[in-house]
Symmetry: C2
Subunit: 208 residues, 2 copies
Amino acid sequence: MAVKSTNITPVEHRIAKRDRWAVNRHRGGVIWFTGLSGSGKTTLAFALEQTLFAQRYNAYVLDGDNVRHGLSADLGFSPLERAENIRRIGEVAALFADAGVIVLTAFISPYHADRRRARDACGDAFHEIFLSADLDTCEGRDPRGLYSRARRGEIPEFTGISAPYEIPEDPELIVDTGRHTISDCLEQLVAYTERAFGFESLAIGKSE
Amino acid sequence: MAVKSTNITPVEHRIAKRDRWAVNRHRGGVIWFTGLSGSGKTTLAFALEQTLFAQRYNAYVLDGDNVRHGLSADLGFSPLERAENIRRIGEVAALFADAGVIVLTAFISPYHADRRRARDACGDAFHEIFLSADLDTCEGRDPRGLYSRARRGEIPEFTGISAPYEIPEDPELIVDTGRHTISDCLEQLVAYTERAFGFESLAIGKSE
């Protein structure tokens, strides 16, 4: 790649999203997973990221691991701090979407108001995916023993036990991770992503 | 792109950075511009983004426009809030770098401590570019009239006038935007970026 930029006249504007999409051959956007602890958010986010990567999509997972130790390292787990954590994730997701990336967020995000704010930050690019496994199913899995600890009162305000989960009223997609295998859920997600973000979606005259 | 993902066994790990780099044919990382108001950070960030985009790099600018109205909309301009703003930008830059993007940040970021913290967040991916136009030059340009307002006392703690700018001690690159034309500065930046992030850099046995 040689320097081809002599005598340019710099202009202070961003690259148009559609130009990024055309190069990437897919839209940027946000796949916002929401659901109880144990509903499969992290598992499916990473599985979807890997599948998309293999198909040459630019995809990236935001989860507790890379957000809570960095961007939100200053935040605890009070209701206000949890809301601020989700607010920041929504704003960062909007930046990734603007950059042409498909960002997958894996956070319980139990409240309408917080998800609504994330949607507002991201605009049309926001796709809310409700992983609808119910409490019995999720508590039965309890892969990290969190429900047991919550039942013993060791974790305050644990979603589903001592704090509410507000079921999404109008998500873009519901995936029943209580009834379907992980492979089946992943297939649904890949099909949805291709439809919503894939190359053929670029021809549709949606607004940016 | 058909579904090719039946019978997968999901694994909860991220895609390795090197795998992203191989597909993108360049490294991800952070080009952290620092310099006085009027030193050319925004102009050069957008010009570099456009040049890189034309050469099929994934590049994205973070600046006051897309950060201060979103992620940092809750922050004012007190010293503590400015430090927190730069901290968040450093953490978001680290996420973009991890996602394989070359992120260009255009913020005065006048303090060693704040830049050091951003470097720590980003690790090896961090490249500090000092735009070294001096105060007289920048104040002479004053494209938005900010220096005039600062001299009249209308903007408190304005870098270079009523607040210090701590000159980088060991930046990866110094570009003298006071002596060189924008085109010449851009050429230096493109050459640096190709050397540090380009396809040929992938063969070098640097750590991730």
